[in-house]
């Protein structure tokens, strides 16, 4: 028998662009890699890019991995913001993953009012002229202008007003619902100086006929305290909007911090929940902003978290993270304390919590599980030399980075 080398049935495919491993197995292997590696590996070859840009691959990957943490930062796209950047989706190091521009030309200024998952609410010129923008698909849904019909009698009081809003998806219908609070500039003239309204976005109705639909007034009594919504003041967990009751009105300054809620599904207000600490020291804010309590509302997974910064005359301020463990009893448990920057001035930065355990075990808050990013500093440092844009909304981006970076055009 000749000692001939047995013929290789599977040659190393020296000249095949797909290389040593067939593409269906490459698919299996790549499914196991983190999203960031996959974005980089689009540069390997065309067949790999085609595979990695496939929405089915993105969906299969998303089913097996935690979302890659990204932050959506919304801006005011006006003349001052030269290239009309509406939104940057950035990674935790502040690097831009995707940039979204507002319509070009002599269009009116646009500003991001609120963000949730992979959607933004964008106001055009006025906070009463808004649309919902899907950052993954680029689709736009107009929100109706004008007040709810049942609020028509307040038309004069609200001829000059501003609105703030929060939104989320109602699981039973799969539709987005927007909650807004309208504040009248004529508040001194009328006992009714704020109105609450909801609007259901029905994706099955075309934009033109959707304009015929209206906002609806909320029948049930709103909380007795001032309410402000939007990324700075409210978070949405599942279908419930949680918000800190505002303290800018002097009457409420001595009250203990309160968290209120609104269920987008049932359209009912929840019982106010007392914060774990009192914010009585708030008056000293005017003497030294770093010496007062500072509450930040945040969300981690499906837990509501209140970040409470205690007065800290020392050099290294810290923020305690209280988890709302029992909504009905209003039970808070302090689970973590994190160092924050001395520059973390109250009311300037929103708190974002991101799971960082890297193991996929999200149900356990142990070990190196969470950190808080002062995104303003992060973004400033990463865009050195660029003009600072006016940031109007910021939130964790809930979309899939693989769909985001697939080159789908997003414009509003």
């Amino acid at each position: 028998m000749a000692a001939a080398e047995p013929p290789r049935l599977r040659p190393r495919r020296e000249d095949a662009p797909t290389g040593a491993v067939p593409l269906d197995l490459v698919h299996e292997i790549l499914l196991r890699l983190p999203a960031k590696d996959l974005c980089r590996l689009r540069a390997v070859c065309r067949p790999w890019r085609a595979l990695l840009s496939d929405p089915l691959f993105a969906a299969a990957h998303a089913a097996r991995h935690r979302p890659y943490p990204l932050i959506a930062v919304g801006y005011e796209a006006s003349l001052a913001n030269g290239d009309r950047v509406l939104c940057d989706i950035v990674d935790l190091s502040g690097r831009v993953v995707k940039r979204v521009h507002a319509g070009s030309g002599p269009a009116p200024p646009e500003r991001v009012m609120s963000s949730h998952l992979d959607h933004l609410i964008v106001a055009r010129e006025s906070s009463l002229r808004c649309h919902l923008l899907n950052l993954t698909t680029g689709s736009v849904h107009l929100l109706p202008q004008g007040l709810a019909p049942e609020h028509a009698k307040h038309r004069w009081t609200f001829s000059e007003c501003w609105a703030s809003m929060a939104f989320g998806m109602v699981p039973s219908t799969g539709k987005y619902k927007v909650l807004r609070v309208l504040h009248s500039f004529h508040s001194g003239d009328s006992p009714i100086w704020k109105l609450f309204e909801v609007f259901t976005i029905d994706g099955s109705i075309s934009s033109s006929s959707q304009q015929a639909c209206n906002w609806r007034g909320i029948k049930r009594d709103p909380p007795a305290y001032p309410v402000e919504l939007g990324d700075w003041y409210s978070v949405v967990i599942k279908h419930t909007v949680y918000f800190l009751l505002s303290d800018y009105d002097s009457d409420y300054r001595d009250k203990q911090g309160l968290v209120a809620s609104f269920d987008l599904e049932t359209e009912k207000w929840g019982e106010s929940i007392r914060a774990p600490l009192s914010r009585r020291d708030v008056r000293s804010f005017y003497i030294n902003p770093l010496s007062c309590f500072d509450f930040k509302i945040a969300v981690l997974g499906e837990s509501l978290v209140l970040g409470c910064r205690s007065p800290s005359p020392g050099a290294s301020p810290s923020m305690d993270l209280w988890f709302l463990t029992d909504v009905s009893k209003g039970l808070w448990v302090k689970q973590h304390s994190i160092q924050i920057s001395a520059l973390h001035v109250p009311h300037l930065a929103q708190s974002l919590l991101v799971l960082n355990d890297g193991t996929g075990r999200v149900e356990k808050h142990d070990g190196n599980w969470a950190f808080m990013k002062n995104y303003k500093q992060q973004i400033k440092s990463s865009t050195d030399g660029q003009e600072m844009k006016c940031c109007t909304a910021v939130g964790l981006y809930g979309g899939n980075v693989l769909s985001l970076a697939s080159g789908s055009k997003v414009a509003s």
């Binding site: 047995p6 013929p7 290789r8 049935l9 599977r10 190393r12 495919r13 020296e14 000249d15 095949a16 662009p17 797909t18 290389g19 040593a20 491993v21 067939p22 269906d24 197995l25 490459v26 698919h27 299996e28 292997i29 790549l30 499914l31 196991r32 890699l33 983190p34 960031k36 590696d37 974005c39 980089r40 590996l41 689009r42 540069a43 390997v44 070859c45 065309r46 790999w48 890019r49 299969a60 089913a63 097996r64 990674d91 190091s93 690097r95 831009v96 993953v97 996929g360 970076a405 080159g407």
Partner: protein, 186 residues
């Protein structure tokens, strides 16, 4: 008549003998023979299970023309040594693409099993596992390959996988700029 009967009896005897054996013989593309526990082969490989059930196992060595001797040796080694600690292949969903369950981490011994392999041996083994419908071995080998890809540059990946760069210089630069964030390792 007589002859046919005798032949039939012989066939019958052979089949009984084969059914009684607790190993099967597998033949690699280059003609080498390997013995593997029948029970393990049937539990770990959907393809071998089908062949055993269908009686298409050849006592003199079942031809596996797709698999080289080195890969087949690894397959047999994996089956024989570790059969007892591995769940049945039949219990795991046979459809890979539509399975959305999280990936299972390899056991310590499975890590060691693939860690000693060269790139080429690993690539051969992943194909063998795929061909034989060995879901768990496929899982372990894919996991190992993905581990060694982490943090690598596109250039390094092309080298390991022997992939031809079919982009122009300009296209590559465009991709690099568009995905600049993914090229930082923080």
């Amino acid at each position: 008549m007589e002859v046919d009967k005798g032949k039939g009896e012989a066939e019958e005897t052979r089949k009984v003998a084969e059914a009684d054996r607790d190993t099967v013989t597998l033949k690699s593309s280059d003609g080498k023979l390997f013995e593997v526990s029948k029970e393990a082969a049937a539990r770990l490989s959907t393809v071998l299970a089908g062949m055993i059930a269908g009686g298409s196992i050849d006592d003199n060595g079942t031809d596996l023309k797709q698999i080289g001797s080195e890969a087949l040796e690894n397959v047999v080694d994996y089956c024989n040594k570790h059969a007892n600690s591995i769940p049945s292949a039949a219990l795991i969903s046979s459809s890979i693409s539509f399975n959305t369950a999280p990936f299972k981490e390899p056991e310590e011994w499975e890590r060691k099993f693939v860690d000693r392999l060269s790139h080429d041996a690993l690539f051969d083994l992943v194909e063998a596992a795929n061909f034989l419908g060995m879901e768990r071995l496929l899982d372990v080998t894919c996991h190992k390959i993905s581990e060694m890809m982490k943090g690598k540059s596109p250039d390094q990946i092309r080298e390991v996988f022997n992939i031809k760069n079919d982009y122009t210089k300009e296209e590559l630069e465009e991709i690099r700029q568009e995905l600049a964030w993914a090229f930082y390792d923080d």
